[in-house]
């Protein structure tokens, strides 16, 4: 599973960071950084939740 963020859509609402702070981090520059682009498969449910909860629909999962 690979995390793909569309940075043209992302507006750093940080909902993903709320759900998985070890994978997503919005820093003080207001930009999102993906800390781990390939989380292990046991995190799939949380990652799918991050996809759904993103207000900008900017996150996708690729297998």
């Amino acid at each position: 599973m690979r995390i793909v963020v569309d940075y043209d859509l992302c507006e750093s609402n940080a909902t993903c960071m709320d759900l998985a702070p070890d994978v997503f981090e919005v820093r003080d520059d207001d930009f999102l950084y993906v800390l781990n682009e390939t989380p292990s498969d046991d995190r799939r449910e949380v990652m799918e939740d991050a996809v759904r909860r993103c207000p900008k629909q900017a996150i996708a999962l690729k297998d």
Binding site: E11, N13, A14, D18, V26, D30, E48, R52, R53, P55
Partner: protein, 400 residues
């Protein structure tokens, strides 16, 4: 175990509910009934990207067509639920009765209108894609002036988008500052300053007493006697839950569909999204939340609730929303009240970049952020943990 699920309302809460059932492996029939002609779409872009002309309408689809087909839903667009009887478990759609086994009510809300403007050309509200496209067409035609009544989130976003398109815009707010009822005066004044510095003619503390014009809007008259000539008016003065069709249904209707702490309104009937008023045990009171994020969470919860006798946990979210106005991102988590103490805990008002805590009775109640998303999310976690005011301030002190 229910073998089929009927969802009334084909927008965010309803669709995300249907998707949750399929994700969980429910393979029985799911009907998704919506009165709009469009496949489920996302509403936040209606006051921003689509209204600005940056996006075409199809980019707002909530679920891409190929994934939508995989859901195997009985999607009934252009169909309106007209009546319900929970005793006989009967739903009427466009006047025709049908039996249901499990029913999720997600009929949302509609805009309040300004009395005296019914049927007048040039007067709009913004809720649906069709509303958005009508306003966009009007903005593209080069109006003399746009007047927006109500500086809530929709009104403020429409004003920001219109100014971005070069349309002279007046924004009218009856309170002393935009969003004052939600965020208080100090923060509301910052929002006002953002609008003024970006060229919005913002008038606060005034209401509309009259709308002039016959077939076409010509001017609005304000409580201070001012008359503003205009050919385009957008009214953003809040919404009303769509519950009229539920009169006589056997459900309790009181500013929404009243539900228990598990979003259950009657045996086999749940509600979610703007129309649902449920007992949020986190706050110990009935709440109706009109936020996007609430629909995304409550739709799945209420759909799953139909398949179990008793869920493990009640639905107790911390409310959270965002609003984009010009280059500022506004976010609020929690429930501030007017007598809360407000403290800036990060950034500064002068830079229009800050986080503020709201607290009372020794507890953190809410966190507001303007271009401070990281701090708002950390504040939201503090709220979820029920942090005390002192604990919250200690966490914020470490941000510096």
């Amino acid at each position: 175990m229910r073998k089929s699920i009927t969802i009334v309302g084909a927008s965010l809460a309803g669709l995300r509910g249907a998707e949750a059932l399929r994700r969980d492996g429910f393979n029985g029939p799911i009907s998704l009934i919506g009165d709009e002609p469009h496949a489920p779409y996302d509403r936040p872009p209606l006051s921003k990207k689509i209204l600005a002309g940056d996006w075409e309408a199809d980019r707002a689809a909530l679920t891409p067509a190929e994934r939508f087909a995989d859901l195997n839903l009985d999607l009934r667009l252009g169909s309106r639920a007209t009546k319900l009887n929970v005793d006989s478990q009967t739903l009427w759609v466009d006047g025709e009765p049908e039996a249901y086994q499990g029913l999720l009510i997600a009929t949302g809300a509609r805009c309040r209108t300004l009395p005296g403007t019914e049927g007048m050309n040039g007067v709009h509200t913004l809720r649906s894609l069709n509303d958005c496209l009508a306003i966009r067409t009007a903005l593209e035609a080069g109006p003399r002036r746009l007047v927006v009544v109500g500086a809530g989130f929709i009104g403020a976003e429409v004003a920001a988008t219109a100014v971005g398109r070069g349309v002279p815009t007046t924004l009218i707010e009856s309170l002393a500052a935009p969003l004052e009822r939600v965020v208080g005066n100090m923060v509301g004044e910052v929002v006002a300053e953002v609008h003024r510095s970006n060229g919005v003619d913002l008038r606060c503390g005034v209401g509309v007493t009259a709308v002039h014009g016959r077939e076409q809007i010509e001017a609005v008259e304000l409580t201070d006697g001012t008359i503003i000539e205009t050919d385009l008016l957008v009214v953003g003065i809040g919404v009303l839950p769509n519950t009229e069709w539920l009169e006589g249904s056997g459900l309790t209707i009181e500013n929404g569909v009243v539900c228990d702490e598990t979003c259950l309104a009657a045996p086999g009937v749940t509600a979610a999204g703007d129309v649902a008023r449920w007992l949020n045990q986190r706050y110990g009171e009935l709440m109706r939340v009109e936020h996007w994020d609430n629909a995304v969470e409550q739709g799945p919860y209420a759909a799953r609730r139909l398949l179990v006798d008793q869920p493990a946990d009640p639905f107790t979210p911390v409310p959270w929303f965002w609003s984009d106005q010009f280059d500022r991102k506004i976010q609020l988590a929690g429930r501030p009240s007017p007598d809360d103490e407000v403290q800036i805990v990060n950034g500064s008002i002068e830079e229009h970049r800050f986080a503020a805590f709201y607290g009372s009775h020794g507890k953190l109640r809410a966190v507001f952020g303007m271009n401070r998303p990281r701090q708002v999310m950390q504040g939201k976690n503090l709220l979820a943990q029920g942090a005390s005011w002192q604990e919250a301030l200690a966490v914020a002190a470490a941000w510096e």
